[in-house]
């Protein structure tokens, strides 16, 4: 299977690989997937408490090129958005941006789940209720 140029680009030059201090109150961490499924994504956001804007985002991913590209792209899109805006990121926009084939759609779903998990982690740390999301379709 050939990868799209955008997937190759994110894989070769991933954006925002790294780790934020998960103990910090302004950092939300989402860890999704499972080693036995062949992909695990950890996505972190650092939120400005005053404005609610995501100042920084980092990821680390165990998975195929599409999983790495999906998480790299997600961190790029997260930076500068407010938490509420971040919630509107949909897995299908990732699929379209990266030209993912059908067998790789689950990578984009995982990225969307990681964003939601990170936001809920941030909310929990700051005394907000967790947002309930509908079950993902592709799992």
């Amino acid at each position: 299977m050939a990868y799209s140029d955008k997937v190759i680009d994110h894989y070769s030059n991933p954006k925002n690989v790294g780790t934020l201090d998960k103990a910090s109150k302004s950092v939300g961490t989402g860890l999704v997937g499972a080693p036995e499924c062949g992909d695990v994504m950890r996505l972190q956001i650092e939120v400005d408490d005053q404005t609610g804007v995501i100042r920084d985002a980092k990821f680390k991913t165990f998975g195929c090129g599409s999983a790495i590209a999906s998480s790299s792209l997600a961190t790029e899109w997260l930076k500068g958005k407010t938490v509420d805006q971040a919630l509107t990121i949909d897995n299908m926009t990732i699929v379209e941006e990266l030209n993912l084939p059908p067998v790789k759609i689950h990578c984009s779903v995982l990225a969307e789940d990681a964003i939601k998990a990170a936001i809920n982690d941030y909310r929990a740390k700051n005394g907000f209720e967790a947002i309930k999301f509908e079950e993902s379709i592709v799992h």
Binding site: Y11, A34, T61, F62, G63, I68, H106
Partner: protein
Amino acid sequence: MLKLPVYLDNNATTPCDPRVVEAMVPYFYENFGNAASRNHPFGWAAEEAVDYAREQVAQLIGADPKEIIFTSGATEGDNLAIKGVFEMYASKGNHIITATTEHKAVLDTCKHIEKLGGEVTYLQVKADGLIDLAELEAAIKPTTILVSIMYGNNEIGVVQPVREISAIAKKHGVLFFTDGVQAVCKIPVDVQKDGIDIMAFTAHKMYGPKGIGALYVRRKNPRVKVTAQMDGGGHERGMRSGTLNVPGIVGFGKAAELARLEMEQDSKRLSGLRDKLESELLKIEESYVNGNREHRLPHVTNISFKHVEGEGLMMGFNKSIALSSGSACTSASLEPSYVLKALGLGDDLAHSSLRFGLGRFTTEEQIDYTIEQVRNTVLKLREMSPLWEMYKEGIDLNSIEWAAH
């Protein structure tokens, strides 16, 4: 000069040896005849070529030429052997013994047999990929008609104790079939010494063309028969009808002759290169060889690099190195290799595996290049892997409740 891309997927298929192609060419042109045309020179030339190739193929495995049935490849051979024995020996019984690490051509044929009312025992393998001989013997019952255990495994290269297996089968009056695809031409295979009753093998894994293979069917002690699965003109002693693929057979014969003459030096060179590749890659922290390292084909190694995913790993060099992974990230099922899982490997290690299959045309420079590329990519991806970070922090990954996916 380093020749790119590097081809290390020789378990999937091998390139044709130029000497093989050269031998085949006249049989597309001036000697195009049908080997079954008994009454003119075109037919005679084709028949003579087939007879000669049949001898070349037989000689490689210590068989009599009359015991070679040409097929379209090993998948057909596996089907013909198992289904053919099941039908031919129906009055004797309906039980077949095989193993969970067999090729799909054997496993799916066995599933078909079960649908037809046959009974199949699937032996588990030990952690090193070898079957347990005591378990094999214990599984034999009065209705057992066939033991089907492969010679060398395609994913991990493990070589089963074929002589011991055939001795057990013989002792109980059960036929022994082996899928010899990966072993023939790589290590000495001798149907007499090994006590093999039926064996499938194919040309394209031994520097011959695709679309031609053979089934060895023993004629003496005991005389074995299989029911034809393809009916027609009664070619190949009635066991496989269909006009013979003369150019393919000629190429197969040449490939077998070259294998017989060059196997020893080829294997020695390849195991040297394989060992270099393996020992260098094992210097990477948390890397493991899958399967028994002593009883193994000389040209294969299967290595898991913990906490990096196989397909992601291959992407780091897939334009310059061709190999395969036990990770099945591309398959719809997302299931990793069933062979690696049968060894008791966790899914995480199965997802992290690469299979290196060296071949006659692999060079030392290519191996050096591969070592460097694989090492760099593993290290790069580990920097990106949350699992590696957790492992380095001393977190037990099994203690984490992973979201069901």
